[in-house]
């Protein structure tokens, strides 16, 4: 039997074939290695050994002169060697660059996915959103009336197709307990207009929703949450509001305009959504421009149709116009400004990081001036030296870039959930490090390397060898010193811009959280009930349910007060309509004001801590057959009966009829959708007299703990009807908190960037001053020998640094003041030139700067005259 020949594993042989010279030379080396390999004991240790040997061989041969070498690779090797020799500098520079690049790339990946990539629809540029707008009341982007939508659809020739959305919470069950989930009723053409096809399943049939036997299409989220991502979801049956519906499609994870967050879509023809006998406005419309039609054409055509509608239905179309907008802007909504601001802020941070590394590189270049001078004297060309310095910077930047991509990866992981939660950003599911992002990272890295490589390269090229060598590196580099001081001023200025921005955002966030809400969220627990299904058809059963619930709420153990409201403040949806005072001449339709409409049950005002200003709240005697009474908000009174007593006045509210309601009480204004909204007129009904909505958010002000209160609520609801679930249980504090998530994260991130920038600037300042002190050791020594006191020296050095700080502060504050206009769109009750934010950032940086100056100054004092002089 012939012995087994020595062999290398395939991967090693392949690597060596590529990494070693060809012919016998390489073959023999491989043979040697194979022989030693086969003599070793098999096992993991042997493989590790082999991997190390292969790597070292390839490394050596790649580096070996005359074999694949060249000016550039020599420069690279040299650069790597220098980095290894100076690990503190290298580590600092790489860390700084990685932070800057990583942050920038992470935010770029968000900006790209959300703002730059085209919407994930078929021909997204052709999509528009159609709204109604009430010009006299300055209401824009209002949902539309179904009759008007039908008229547009009927008459328009240049809108190719449209999809209509009506978001509604539904009780859904996949065989388990029903729970309330967000769903949207859409016309069957909705998905077709967008060009979104189900990932599986046929989707809605053209006649879907017209007949019984409902069909539902699940969003990706719905598929995961309702069916646990069941691969055989198609054909399964869900119970939706008590009737069964078949799953006919599962959508990909895309943003659904006006239906985002919906777990399921239900199809319904437009005619079933309502008509002009119902004057309500509640539809969202997505449409596609016909080929060749411009946005302006669509606007013109729909406007002329709407003019006709104002003429034919003045009763509820007076003052209403049509508004057509590009869908893109509507989908992105108001996330654009804060996202660009965040991106800008992190870009400034990257600049500070670059300047900082440039500064470090320059300091090192000064240290190396001796070496560079020798090399110039020995015949190295200035171009060659500058090239070497640039290559060194590029190597640094590349290492920083790689680490930065790691930071970015981590950053997107950490950022995405936080941003997603607070911005409800459409399409954030797509954020990732794709080719575009990596290309951006590469470009930023290269730019960064050039940026902080060029300054030292230029300054190295300028200096003559004789001057440098003569000075023996001690008194050199006035030029370099000046550039470094300028860089520090730039760093300080940029940091101050960031600090000021952070200050403004924090102030704004502070005003938001301290904004007057009109209620007291402490110790309040909320939970929703939704009366859906055949047993609650019509309004009578709703009234019976809430009637039965009321005494149970009143006697909840541990509760100060309990009640319910149709739409909880700061929790999304709401309803509104026009109204007028019925005790004076009826104004023209278009001059009617709009009030938010809420129905309440139990002691809602007591539970929420909404103050009663005048009159009374609802009482148990306010029944269907008693006088129709309404409680209104303070601002409704101010706009309707300014300076008069509103109690007992009649109010005509445009809901089912215009029969007047008698005002019996006035309560304090309460914020509606957003803490930053101005107070709006609001009218409250009691559910017994106005059973408009088959759902209610129950509210309990508890003395006991939250869990106990929730248990009590559940018992109360189950006591009336065990089939009605209590869903979306949350504390009112959490509701308020969630509504401030966006300004919170924006302020937090910019503050983080500003802190890092300030730290980097302080490091830069410290570096420059330490260097200056080191250079002036002799001078300081002489001064002290001649009797200068320590305090004088400290003052001298500190002042030198503070001059830089002051220059940076002035420039930074000027830039911040000039740029504050860009911020104003996201500031709340804080001016873009808020003196407190500007003053605080200046003071803060002055402190940081002083600290960075004092340390080198104190070191200067420790210079002993004798030693300093001996150094010469």
């Amino acid at each position: 039997m012939s012995p087994t020949p020595h062999r290398l594993p395939d991967w090693a042989a392949r690597a060596l074939r590529r990494g070693l010279p060809g012919g016998v030379r390489g073959a023999s080396i491989r043979g040697d290695l194979a022989e030693e390999y086969s003599m070793r004991r098999p096992g993991l240790g042997r493989e590790v050994w082999l991997a190390a040997e292969v790597a070292r061989l390839v490394y050596h041969y790649r580096r070996s002169p005359g074999w694949g070498g060249g000016a550039v690779s020599t420069a690279f090797r040299f650069a790597l060697r220098r980095l290894r020799r100076d690990p503190v500098f290298g580590g600092l520079a790489i860390l700084t660059t990685a932070l800057g690049i990583g942050g920038t790339v992470a935010l770029f990946s968000v900006v790209k996915a959300v703002l730059l990539d085209p919407l994930p629809y078929h021909d997204p540029e052709g999509l528009v959103a159609v709204y109604e707008a009430h010009l006299p009341r300055a209401v824009d982007r209002n949902v539309a009336n179904p009759g008007n939508v039908a008229a547009w659809r009927e008459a328009a020739s240049i809108v190719a197709a449209e999809g209509i959305v009506l978001p509604q919470p539904r009780l859904v069950s996949a065989g388990d307990d029903p729970r309330e989930v967000m769903s949207s009723v859409v016309t069957p053409g909705y998905l077709e207009v967008l060009g979104v096809e189900p990932e599986s399943g046929p989707g809605f049939s053209p006649a879907a929703g017209a007949a019984d036997g409902g069909q539902v299409v699940l969003s990706r989220l719905g598929w995961l949450e309702l069916l646990g991502g069941d691969p055989d979801a198609i054909g399964r049956t869900l119970t939706v509001n008590g009737t069964s519906a078949e799953v006919v499609g599962v959508l990909p994870a895309v943003h659904l305009p006006f239906a985002d967050g919906s777990l399921l879509l239900l199809a319904m023809p437009l005619s079933a959504m309502g008509d002009q006998t119902n004057s309500g406005r509640f539809l969202n419309v997505v449409a596609r421009r016909a080929a060749g039609a411009e946005l302006a054409d669509v606007r013109r055509e729909l406007q002329s149709i709407t003019a006709g509608l104002r003429a034919t239905h003045p009763d509820f179309n007076a003052g209403w116009y049509v508004q057509v907008e590009e869908l893109r802007g509507e989908v992105l909504g108001d996330v654009r400004a804060p996202l660009w601001i965040l991106f800008g802020a992190v870009g400034v941070l990257l600049l500070v990081a670059c300047v900082n590394v440039a500064n470090l590189t320059l300091a090192r270049a000064t240290d190396r001036s001796g070496e560079l001078a020798v090399r110039t004297a020995l015949g190295a060309s200035r171009g060659g030296l500058a090239g070497q310095l640039v290559v060194e910077s590029l190597v640094l930047a590349a290492l920083g870039g790689f680490a930065g991509i790691g930071v970015a990866w981590l950053g997107t992981r950490l950022l995405t959930p936080a941003l997603m939660e607070s911005f409800t950003i459409p399409r954030l599911g797509d954020v990732g490090l794709d080719i575009g992002v990596l290309a951006f990272a590469a470009a930023v890295t290269a730019g960064t390397g050039l940026f902080f490589g060029l300054a030292p390269a230029v300054s190295a090229g300028r200096r003559g060898p004789a001057a440098t060598l003569g000075a023996e590196g001690r008194r050199v580099g006035r030029g370099g010193g000046r550039v470094r001081r300028l860089l520090v001023v730039a760093e300080v200025a940029l940091s101050v811009v960031l600090l000021t921005t952070a200050g403004l955002l924090v102030r704004s966030f502070d005003s938001i959280t301290n904004a007057e809400t009109g209620f007291d969220a402490a110790r309040v627990v909320t939970g929703r009930v939704n009366l859906a299904g055949p047993r609650y058809a019509g309004t009578e059963p709703d009234i019976r349910f809430f009637d039965a619930l009321e005494p149970r709420l009143a006697s909840l153990p541990g509760a100060d007060a309990a009640g319910g409201v149709s739409f909880l403040p700061l929790d999304g949806l709401g309803s509104a309509t026009s109204f007028h005072a019925a005790d004076r001449a009826v104004p023209p339709r278009e001059e009617w004001l709009v009030a938010d409409i809420r129905t309440v049950t139990g002691d809602y005002f007591g539970a929420m801590g909404i103050a009663l200003v005048q009159g009374r709240a609802f009482e148990a005697t306010d029944r269907q057959d008693s006088e129709r009474v309404v409680v209104v908000s303070r601002s409704l009174v101010e706009r309707t009966w300014p300076g008069e007593n509103p109690i007992g006045r009649p109010l005509a509210i445009n809901w089912d009829d215009l029969e007047p309601w008698t005002v019996v009480g006035v309560v304090e204004d309460v914020v509606h959708a957003d803490l930053t909204d101005a107070p709006r007129p609001m009218a409250y009904h009691t559910v017994a007299q106005a059973p408009y909505f088959p759902f209610m958010t129950l509210v309990v002000r508890t003395r006991a703990d939250a869990a106990e209160a929730v248990a009590g609520l559940r018992r109360a609801v189950a006591g009336v009807d065990p089939a009605v679930p209590l869903t979306r249980v949350q504390t009112m504090d959490a509701v308020v908190r969630a509504s401030t998530a966006r300004p919170r994260i924006t302020a937090f991130l910019v503050t983080l960037f500003a802190a890092v920038a300030a730290l980097l600037a302080a490091v830069g300042l410290y570096g420059v001053l330490s260097f200056a002190v080191a250079r002036r050791v002799r001078e300081i020594g002489v001064r002290m020998a001649l009797g200068a006191r320590a305090a004088d020296v400290v003052t001298m050095v500190t002042l030198q640094g503070l001059r830089l700080v002051a220059a940076g502060l002035v420039i930074g504050l000027a830039i911040a003041a000039a740029g504050s206009r860009l911020l104003e769109s996201i500031l709340f009750s804080v001016s873009g030139r808020d003196p407190l934010a500007f003053g605080a950032s200046a003071a803060l940086f002055a402190l940081v700067g002083a600290a960075a100056c004092v340390i080198p100054a104190l070191r200067a004092v420790r210079v002993r005259p004798g030693m300093a002089l001996r150094e010469e």
Binding site: S2, P3, T4, P5, H6, R7, V24, R25, A27, S28, I29, R30, G31, D32, L33, A34, E35, E36, S38, E53, R56, L57, V58, Y59, H60, Y61, S64, G66
Partner: protein, 109 residues
Amino acid sequence: MSPSFLGEFEQMVLLAVLQQGESAFALEVRQELERSAGRSVSRGAFYTTLDRLERKGLVRWEERLPRDSRRSAPLRHFEVTPDGIDALRTSRRALETLWRGLDEVLEGT
């Protein structure tokens, strides 16, 4: 031509090639080096040094067919050229000159 100046590692490689004589294959030379130097020798450094010595004309090699049937790859047999011998001699002389008279310093307690 004037003999090249030899680095320490180059000298050691040349000497090891001479020591091995007829069996001066790369593998054996390296093992000899490790044995006499008492430390491991980087494979990459070793081969690239051989290449450099070859470029300087201090060693040459010829391909031999392996006698051991398990050796499937070609083998290079190395030999120090007369220039290589000269270079070693020069280096040794230079070193000996430098060493002279320092025994007391270096060996003394």
